[in-house]
Symmetry: C2
Subunit: 561 residues, 2 copies
């Protein structure tokens, strides 16, 4: 495989008739998918998502792709193609449109409905171009054709991009469920037709490349969901992703079949299901869905609640139910169905919820003890089908952590793609398609752009390091009143510790050390407050390390008296 | 099932000839297993382990069982029976022995060897009583019989405890591998014999009660491990638990078969494998294991490294290799085998390691892409065998989160145990076995006892809450010099923020608010510094909330001028 470590300096000029591909997100991570295509001086963006933070990024809401490399070229952007309506593909759009609101958004009806609803919350009215499978549209020098793909949200599209440089096929997220609820399968005939034409660069979803075999059909969940509704003596509470229209459809159908009514709980669930129903993607039997107030008056055996929080999000309905901190009180005999995946990293949160619900007496049915979830992504078996149908001359795995990209690349090679034409790139790597050959030619700078309480870029790696230190070690503020003439302590300093394990101890032992250090500092000239603060911080830090093997964050304050 | 919510007040006097069972750990969690049996005024403890912290417990090393309820009765403790040598069963012993060093430790040879090595690091020389399967020993009023069980560490023992109150069987951790590497299977004939005699209370390992079917045999890993050694062109680096003697044995055998040498890396790995080899639990072919220095001189295709860090522990060998921060440099073509489970909660850390190794060019083989791990715990299928063989009159599931305990209880009921005799208890619940009937009769207080940088109980729930706030929101110190006479600001206050997203902004807007608040405070009497600090903290906090929707931890400092 062509190693990205070969050439990652500043990118060279883009050759005439060549195509440049730069992923600003989605490589080396699951999330914030964003790929920028450049040709003939214009840019086409495919997807603009967010990445959700991990536990070592406390206080962060979401992480954005780094727009720096395109910021001064926003006027060259001819369109943003959105392959589907998941947060990791559309969540970054509001932040990009803040910088240029009139970039056309191109996507299917449901995708545009979801992004438009989101943009409304950001008070942005976007320019949209609705497309459907089979459509061809030209955006600047980019000739786009849209191909139906099946995923865990309806109305997903792959996009084929034709330029003078050749034909690129970007799958977006997809799987190959042969019996999807809406009958809309991934259009392999379309993939084949494009393959016949000759796909010069194939960008494919790597999420499940490590998973052998084939992703099961959504329909295979029916027995488990049926069982829940058949056996539950009291209420059925279902939690799933607020965008998983087909999963919810199965729940609604089962509820209707068992004479139960349904209420949606949670802002995003109510909003998205409203949109999906209005546009006809969700079929709601007449009278099935009722208001929560109405539902509460029915006997428990007639009740179904559909809510958010399947990932253990602390503020979501389900976590609050598990903590007994929600209007809906979970009781002995209720059945809770977590009809969703368990995204790695959320285990503790999700199991806390499951344990909370269990100890309230609920019977909790989840991925771990029943077949209540199938993935939305193509497994290895499906990916090799794609490679053999498309027979691309170059492959660039996208949408995955390093291990997923590598596994996907291995699959491509197995099907006969020349290893030198399989590009395992990283975010920011500049991949040029020149004379039918794709390779990494350079790198643009990319950093994590943190959104923290709606402040973009407010939190930095440095402030996150501070936060980790604060969390692990606590904080110790040292307030010293210094005699301006002598540069020595006017009084013993005040020590204020929080989250520091030895907060209770006396800090007297360090005072003479501070005095000594200040005396030493005074002899080497006349230090200013800033320098005195450094002296104090260093002295207290090394004392804490020696005495307690701890490194609290130290805030020195010098006040001249 | 008898609900623990029935009676959880202060426990009544223990009836004569009755047996009291109080779990101080291991119920509602995976870890810090500790069960206290009381009879005729004496206490017998089974296991004393540690619990590892979750991400919402930053800076914590381990969490101990709460010894409070037995602290004033340590002289009544006749022995601590250790079922096996895992941290979650022995890790708390050093802390308990600090309080009374001469409590006899009872266990198998390997278990005692592991705990003794650990105690040496704590400078404690324990009193030990070595036992083996079939042994009977009397400790005070407790007649103990030891039964062989198979687990993911050799030499595990279940313990049968006979008192005037009846016969109790505690499985410890176990599974029923019918073809273990050491041929030492769980002694179901022993279970059956005890069942014939009549088991009044059966305490069983719940860890895998939710997992249908049977846990696979350790031997089933041979093909995957073989493949790694057969295919790897360069070094093989294996990471596993430092206590998993049989897993390591398989690796050593495969290395020997493929003409590779082996070096152990990591303190605990070197120490434990040394012990296991010395005692004959680990069979090392002559000349196979060599010093790292020697190994480094061999060609990569002759090299095997066995190290710690399979759970992504940041300080362990493997994480440091993945970060390029270890003497052992992982290179293109190396194969890394994670021959271990992935403990829930460690996913992010482990996948960070896998991705790091992958991007260094290593081929990483792990649970997710090969059959390289089997659990050490009995699945549902094995548990029902046990229930049907033992036919206990009372059951108390142990060792599991609520969901596991509940699932295990359901299995007991399915096999015909009277639901009223199945006790799903919580840590601290007092379970009395009286006249052959077990039930919850009360509760003793139990709290999390945090060990933080070797300080026991230093960190509290309050300080952890502070740490979480510090991590999520950062800290803002406000230093105000107050005119002692007027109680008003002598100068504008100093603001020092760390980890606070708006640290860069000006804090001028809040100054007039502080002035107003101080003026108001002055009118209601003559507030002292403490009160003034509260006024300032409240004012700044509500300003930060209004202005930024943030709640940084605020440290107010008032200095009288």
């Amino acid at each position: 495989m062509s190693s990205p470590r070969l050439n990652t300096g500043a990118p060279p000029r883009l050759a005439k008739d060549a195509l440049r591909v730069v992923a600003l997100g989605g490589l080396g991570e699951i999330g914030r998918n964003m790929t920028v295509f450049e040709h003939a001086g214009k840019l086409l963006i495919v997807d603009c998502g967010v990445l959700f933070p991990e536990e070592h990024q406390p206080g962060i809401d979401v992480i954005l792709p780094d727009f720096t490399s395109i910021r001064d070229r926003l006027d060259d952007v001819v369109a943003i193609v959105l392959t589907h309506g998941h947060e990791d593909h559309i969540g970054g759009v509001p932040y990009l449109l803040r910088e240029r609101p009139d970039i056309p958004l191109v996507g299917s009806r449901l995708t545009l409905a979801f992004i438009t609803a989101k943009l409304t919350e950001h008070r942005i009215r976007p320019v949209t171009v609705e497309v459907t499978e089979g459509d061809q549209r030209r955006f600047g020098p980019f000739d786009c054709e849209f191909v139906a793909v099946n995923h865990s949200i309806p109305d997903g599209l792959a996009v084929a991009i034709r330029t003078a440089a050749g034909l690129v096929l970007h799958t977006g997220d997809f799987k190959m469920d042969q019996f999807p609820l809406d009958g809309r399968i991934t259009d392999l005939r379309g993939f084949a037709r494009l393959g016949e034409e000759g796909v010069d660069l194939f960008l494919t979803d790597s999420t499940n490349a490590e998973v052998p075999g084939f992703t099961a059909s959504e329909g295979e969940l029916i027995p488990a969901i049926e069982t829940v509704f058949r056996k539950s003596p009291r209420r059925v509470i279902v939690s799933s992703f607020a965008s998983h229209v087909h999963r919810i459809q199965q729940v609604l159908d089962a509820a209707a079949a068992h004479g139960r009514k349904v209420a949606f709980v949670g802002r995003s669930m109510v909003r998205n299901m409203g949109i999906a129903a209005e546009l006809g993607y969700l079929k709601i039997p007449a009278g099935l869905v009722v208001d929560l107030k109405v539902l509460e008056k029915l006997p428990p055996s007639k009740v179904t609640l559909v809510c958010t929080g399947s990932q253990g999000e602390p503020m979501a309905a389900l976590s609050r139910m598990a903590g007994g901190d929600h209007v809906i009180r979970v009781r002995e005999g209720d059945t809770v169905l977590l009809a969703s995946s368990l995204i790695p990293g959320n285990e503790n949160a999700v199991y806390r919820v499951i344990n909370g619900l269990t100890s309230l007496g609920a019977n909790v049915v989840h991925k771990g003890n029943a077949k209540v979830h199938v993935s939305g992504h193509a497994s290895a078996g499906e990916l090799v089908y794609c490679y053999n149908i498309v027979k691309p001359s170059n492959v660039m795995p996208v949408h995955g952590e390093s291990r997923h990209l590598r596994a996907n690349a291995d699959l491509a090679v197995k099907t006969g793609v020349d290893p030198r034409n399989v590009v395992v790139a990283e975010n920011g790597h500049v991949v040029d398609l020149v004379d039918g050959r794709a390779s990494v030619v350079g790198k643009v700078p990319v950093h994590n752009v943190y959104v923290d309480a709606s402040v973009v870029g407010g939190a930095t790696e440095a402030s996150l390091q501070d936060r980790r230190t604060l969390a692990e070690e606590g904080v110790l503020a040292v307030v010293a009143i210094i005699d301006a003439d002598t540069g020595q302590l006017a009084d013993p300093p005040d020590f204020l510790a929080r989250g520091f394990v030895h907060a209770g101890d006396s800090f007297d032992p360090v005072v003479p050390l501070i005095e000594k250090a200040l005396a030493r500092a005074a002899t080497d000239g006349h230090p200013d407050s800033r320098q005195l603060e450094d002296v104090i911080a260093r002295t207290v830090a090394s004392w804490a390390r020696r005495t307690y093997r701890r490194a609290p964050l130290i805030i020195p304050v010098v006040i001249d008296a």
